[in-house]
């Protein structure tokens, strides 16, 4: 039940973010899905393993792969799903807590939060890189010959 609530809230958040960046109406639902799925992955992995950085890495990876799959299915740039979905993972909270501990004079907490924020940012970097490292052809299994080539060409765009 808790997961369902998290899913719905994350989806609402992502759709709203997508609206702020003027995503076309037809794609809003898919943006919401990509955000919600990555958040659920993050939430579950974080809860089960207690490792926030690993959770972020897994979530970003899934998000990137999912965005690319959607891009092929919906014939749109992967960017639009990726950009809206990433907002659930970006360490905005980490930045705030780091600064909060800095101005509170709590050096130990500041260092630990700051380092964690940095690690999360790195995890996002590698999540995206691993996600894009999967060869384009794998996303085009269902198309054949010339059509597949054309699809791959326009996908590059």
């Amino acid at each position: 039940m808790n997961y369902l609530i998290q899913f719905i809230v994350a989806m609402t958040a992502t759709v709203a973010v997508a609206i702020l960046f003027a995503t076309p109406k037809k794609e809003l639902l898919f943006c919401g899905l990509s955000g919600a799925i990555s958040w659920i992955v993050y939430y579950v992995v974080d809860e089960k393993s207690g490792n926030t950085v690993a959770a972020c890495l897994a979530a970003t990876f899934i998000l990137t792969v999912f965005s690319r799959a959607l891009a092929v299915l919906r014939k749109n740039p992967a960017t639009i799903y990726l950009l809206s979905g990433i907002f659930t993972l970006v360490p905005g909270a980490g930045v705030y807590y780091t600064v909060y501990y800095l101005i509170s004079g709590d050096r130990a907490q500041f260092a630990s939060k700051g380092l964690e924020t940095f690690e999360i940012a790195l995890a996002i970097v590698f999540g995206i890189i691993f996600g894009f490292a999967i060869p384009e052809a794998l996303f085009h299994r269902h198309t054949h010959g010339k059509q597949a080539k054309r699809a791959a060409d326009s996908q590059k765009l």
Binding site: A22, L83, S154
Partner: protein, 257 residues
């Protein structure tokens, strides 16, 4: 056979609009190359930066021409990126003649973001949802929603009066922080940190950061660095903006932060 200059102008104009609307460097560069090839140009060169475009075609021939564009960073508008992507695809499939393409480019440029009311509401929803996701209570979500509405109003005003991007971020985070402090002063059971974390979400540099990673991945190191510095500075501005009111209230004394 169309003139080299017209083709190059079309390609660069499309690239210009794409870059402005928030497409990543690789896509922009690739689009230009595809368009030029589709219209039968062979000898050309393109270089795209995070805020500039350089292109030349047929340099050693009579109809040589080259173009340089300065593209200031603007608000991300994904509907333009989608529409332009479709346009470039149609051009590559030779479904679109030059005059048609120009008309469609104009249409893409006229695409506007969602209306003011909707974006204000959406910003409220973003703040509320993120407050809840980071473990806030329903009451936190409600206050966040209100703060989000005011935040977007302020952002729109900054856009109207053309305040610089970094100042906008600092001012907005100061206002967020102040509003959060005022909500805590009501003595309702509100968590200050959950409010702030939710409310800064709409101005967090998520997009620039992602674009920067993708630039590095595609070996556009210069654009990647520019975007990365942009993201870091924005984060710094948020940090400064949020902490100023807290420090002020502490200085005034007797506050429980």
């Amino acid at each position: 056979m169309a003139h080299t200059k017209e083709i190059l102008t079309l390609a660069v104009e499309i690239a210009d609009t794409m870059l402005r609307s928030g497409a990543e460097i690789y896509r922009v560069e690739d689009s230009v190359i595809h368009i030029l090839e589709a219209y039968g140009l062979e000898d050309f060169d393109v270089y795209v930066l995070s805020n500039g475009i350089f292109a030349s075609a047929n340099e050693n021939r009579e109809d040589a021409c080259s173009m340089v564009r300065h593209v200031p960073m603007a608000a991300t508008q994904l509907n333009r990126v989608v529409a332009l992507n479709q346009l470039v695809r149609d051009i590559c499939d030779h479904k679109c003649t030059l005059p048609e393409a120009n008309l469609r480019l104009q249409k893409c440029r006229d695409l506007s973001p969602y209306s003011r009311g909707i974006t204000i509401f959406a910003c409220g929803v973003v703040c509320a949802a993120f407050s809840l996701m980071f473990g806030g209570s329903m009451l936190d979500g409600l206050f966040s929603f209100g703060i989000g509405l005011l935040e977007q109003l302020f952002l729109l005003a900054c856009k109207k009066y053309k305040v610089s991007r970094f100042l906008t971020t600092v001012y907005t985070s100061v206002i967020i922080s102040l509003l959060c402090i005022f909500s805590v002063i009501t003595r309702l059971p509100i968590h200050y940190d959950k409010l702030v974390v939710g409310a800064i979400m709409p101005i967090v540099p998520g997009i620039v950061f992602t674009t920067s990673i993708r630039d590095f991945y595609n070996e556009d190191y210069l654009s990647g660095s520019i975007h990365l510095i942009d993201a870091l500075l924005t984060a710094l501005c948020i940090a400064v903006g949020v902490s100023l009111p807290i420090l002020l209230f502490r200085y005034l004394g007797g506050f429980w932060f």
